[in-house]
């Protein structure tokens, strides 16, 4: 694999499997009383978050800490970023600490790739605008493999606000690489023109939802909407909310969080056996440990973990 993880396209199926197998062994470490391994002792990981995040930032912090790295977390609020420092200048400043890795979350597509061109550190894209969120896709695949063993032949529906979703873009690619077929469904105003070019089907209705083995529900991203893409949340909920009446037995439900309870997803579904949402969160730390390990230590030393 390349030096950075900027896009899920940086990985082929084999690369994804290698990371997820390592994540599996890290998940076992997480079950122990002492959860740390010394793999990154003496090395520095910078977490640079230009957007609010709970799951992703905390799981990256925990992942780096459990690999014994020194961790610096920088958030836009309260830092020189807030004072108007450019991304390039911020990276130059942080590079002075000689980090082994920079994990970056940005509201702008391509930010992680830009950073990769400006630093010697390995760069992990923790979400860049509406473009990609590759570690989310890895943990989604990890979660499905834990439950089902394989994604081959699986029919996965991604439902909701595809237009504003970086998770959807990374998942469509990752799920297909792992052998699943993907359908995206949502209001026509929230399905990007040309999305079929990614190899998925697209439909504006949930009529054929029973075909799905897995229903991956996207968050309605009000914060990214400067105009009305749907007439009302009520109309959205009436047509697209995933709830018990729309699901058939045996279907699994996923969501990248944070959930708008009662909007895209009914509260009862979240707490039901069909939901993999809790498992997705638990997978986050192990998968991000595996990504940092893969980039910074490489394929050579799996023995150090066991």
């Amino acid at each position: 694999m390349s030096k950075h993880l900027l896009s899920i396209e940086d990985l082929d199926r084999e690369g994804i499997e290698r990371i997820l197998e390592r994540a599996q062994s890290f998940a076992e470490v997480s079950g122990r009383e002492i959860k740390k391994v010394p793999a990154l002792k003496g090395r520095t990981v910078v977490n640079l978050f230009y957007e609010a995040s709970t799951r992703t930032s905390s799981s990256f912090e925990l992942a780096a800490t459990r690999l014994s790295a020194d961790v610096i977390s920088v958030r836009a609020a309260g830092s020189s970023i807030e004072k108007g420092e450019s991304l390039r200048d911020t990276i130059q400043t942080l590079t002075a600490y000689e980090p082994a890795a920079i994990v970056i979350r940005s509201p702008h597509a391509g930010a992680a790739a830009s950073v990769a061109a400006w630093t010697d550190a390995a760069v992990v894209n923790a979400g860049d605008g509406k473009h990609e969120h590759p570690t989310q896709a890895l943990l989604d695949v990890f979660t499905l493999r834990q439950r089902l063993g394989s994604l081959d032949g699986l029919r996965i529906w991604i439902v909701g606000d595809v237009l504003h979703s970086r998770v959807a873009r990374s998942d469509i690619s990752a799920f297909q690489k792992m052998g699943a077929s993907v359908t995206v469904a949502g209001p026509p105003t929230l399905l990007p023109r040309g999305i079929e070019a990614l190899g998925c089907a697209a439909t504006p209705t949930l009529e054929r939802l029973p075909e799905a083995d897995v229903v991956y529900v996207l968050r309605m991203q009000h914060e990214r909407m400067q105009e009305a893409f749907v007439p009302s949340l009520g109309e959205y909920t009436a047509r697209y909310q995933i709830n018990a009446t729309r699901l058939r037995p045996g279907q699994l439900v996923m969501h990248p969080g944070p959930v708008n309870r009662g909007v895209e997803l009914d509260g009862d579904v979240i707490d039901s056996d069909a939901s993999l949402i809790g498992e997705q969160v638990r997978a986050g730390v192990a998968v991000r440990m595996a990504v940092l390990y893969e980039l910074l230590v490489g394929a050579s030393a799996l023995a150090a973990v066991a």
């Binding site: 830009s114 504003h164 990007p192």
Partner: protein, 444 residues
């Protein structure tokens, strides 16, 4: 008559250019000749080896090279006044000369906007001191490019404005545009339009299509341009207003222009080298040099623009040279400003990507690269005895990598950066003086 092109006076060229292949689509010239320039004018053409250099004339050995009428760019941003850190009149016109241009027309979206006679006068004064090639100016249609109140168009035309544009922005209000077109009967000049419906383009940063869907970057649909071309053509015909559409980028716009030309609307169009040679596929890298407005579009759009240029619906090539400082372009794609430089690469890009593969004839490309001034009523450079020398000497076989030796422009945001092209400009003669000679330029 009002003076409408401005440049720094320079020494009149005395040159014998020997053995170059002369090509001028307007005079039908297409063969090797000697050409004598005396006192800045084309004095004589003769068979290769037939002309003697008179006293004081410099001999340029040009066998194997091509001599064309020098190019005219009806659409450049020289960033003066107010944004001289991106470009100024001296550096921008030096870049023009390096690209083989003998005339450029500068856009008014400066700071302040060219919406007042005082601003235009200060620019023409500066151009007389600094411009290496004759430079014309458009003034804004509306005050401050705000789209609400007309600029003093008649006074601006009297002060030398060639026409009017709010380039960088559309004139959103059909009512305001109609008034400008009515007022044009008094003021004269051409109304040039950047066509974009902002309610359709929104916060878009690239062409809306499969690539934007993959990248998650908000798209600018082609209809944001074409619907305005259609709307404004209809108004132009109704008012009989001479109107020019800038940087056309998509199938539907070319179709709309062709339709309204056939219907008798006094409309014309231009295309940029980047829309003729690149598509949104190139934007997959999110390289901000490839971010411009209108955006690089689909292959079908590119083909339509080429066909429009070939059949003459689009009558000229314009670079939309839009310099931005390095720190402005070193931003995430969605935040970076729109625009690419283009003066130094225009001929080489079109020649390499369209002429060499046989898509367009060389003579047609030379015609379209020299046609941009005529639409504003400027004289067209020609290769014929007694004409003012406006010539460009190019080595078509020489190859170069864009940016390898820096740029003459103050900025380096060229969408062709790193590409290898055929066609190296050896010398540009503008208004009778040598404005550029390879190896003697200043590069940043």
């Amino acid at each position: 008559m009002t003076e409408r092109l401005f440049h720094r006076p320079a020494e009149a060229a005395q040159l014998l250019i020997r053995g170059a292949h002369l090509l001028d689509p307007r005079t039908g010239l297409d063969a090797a000749h000697d050409l004598l320039v005396r006192d800045g004018r084309i004095a004589q053409l003769g068979a290769p080896g037939s002309l003697e250099a008179p006293e004081g004339a410099r001999i340029v050995e040009a066998q194997g090279k091509h001599l064309f009428p020098a190019f005219v760019d009806p659409h450049v941003h020289l960033r003066t006044p107010g944004q001289e850190y991106k470009e100024n009149i001296a550096t921008g016109t030096a870049a023009a000369a390096a690209g083989g241009f003998c005339q450029v027309i500068a856009m008014p979206n400066t700071a302040p906007v060219i919406d007042a006679v005082t601003v235009l006068r200060s620019l023409t004064t500066t151009a007389r001191q600094q411009a290496l090639v004759p430079t014309g100016f458009l003034a804004s249609i509306t005050v401050g490019l705000q789209g609400s109140d007309l600029s003093p168009m008649a006074a601006l035309a009297d002060a030398g404005a060639l026409g009017f544009t709010d380039d960088g922005k559309p004139v959103v209000s059909a009512g305001i545009l109609r008034k400008a077109m009515q007022y044009q009967r008094l003021a004269g000049g051409v109304i040039a339009l950047h066509e974009e419906d902002p309610t359709l383009s929104g916060a878009g940063a690239m062409h809306e299509g499969t690539v934007s869907a993959r990248l998650g970057v908000a798209g600018i649909p082609s209809i944001s341009e074409s619907t305005m071309v259609a709307r404004d053509s209809a108004i132009a015909r109704y008012e009989g207003a001479r109107t020019h559409f800038q940087h056309l980028s998509c199938v539907e716009s070319v179709q709309a222009l062709a339709h309204w030309r056939d219907a008798g609307a006094p409309v014309s169009g231009e295309a940029t080298p980047h829309h003729l040679t690149l598509t949104d596929e190139a934007v997959r890298s999110l390289d901000t040099r490839l971010k411009m407005n209108p955006p690089l579009r689909s292959e079908a759009d590119r083909q339509a623009v080429i066909e429009g240029l070939r059949c003459g619906v689009i009558e000229c090539i314009a670079t939309d040279h839009a310099p931005h400082a390095r720190h402005e372009k070193e931003m995430p794609f969605e935040q970076a400003p729109m625009g690419s430089t283009g003066l130094e690469t225009a001929f080489a890009a079109v020649y390499t990507e369209l002429v060499r593969p046989g898509v367009l004839p060389l003579a047609l490309v030379v015609q379209r690269l020299t046609a941009g001034g005529a639409l504003y009523g400027l004289p067209v450079p020609r290769i014929e005895p007694d004409a003012q020398a406006n010539l460009v000497l190019i080595d078509l076989e020489a190859r170069w990598r864009v940016g390898e030796h820096g740029y003459v422009s103050r900025s380096e945001n060229c969408c062709f950066h790193g590409r290898t092209f055929n066609g190296v400009v050896q010398m540009t003669i503008a208004a009778g003086s040598v404005a550029y000679e390879k190896g003697k330029e200043n590069r940043g």
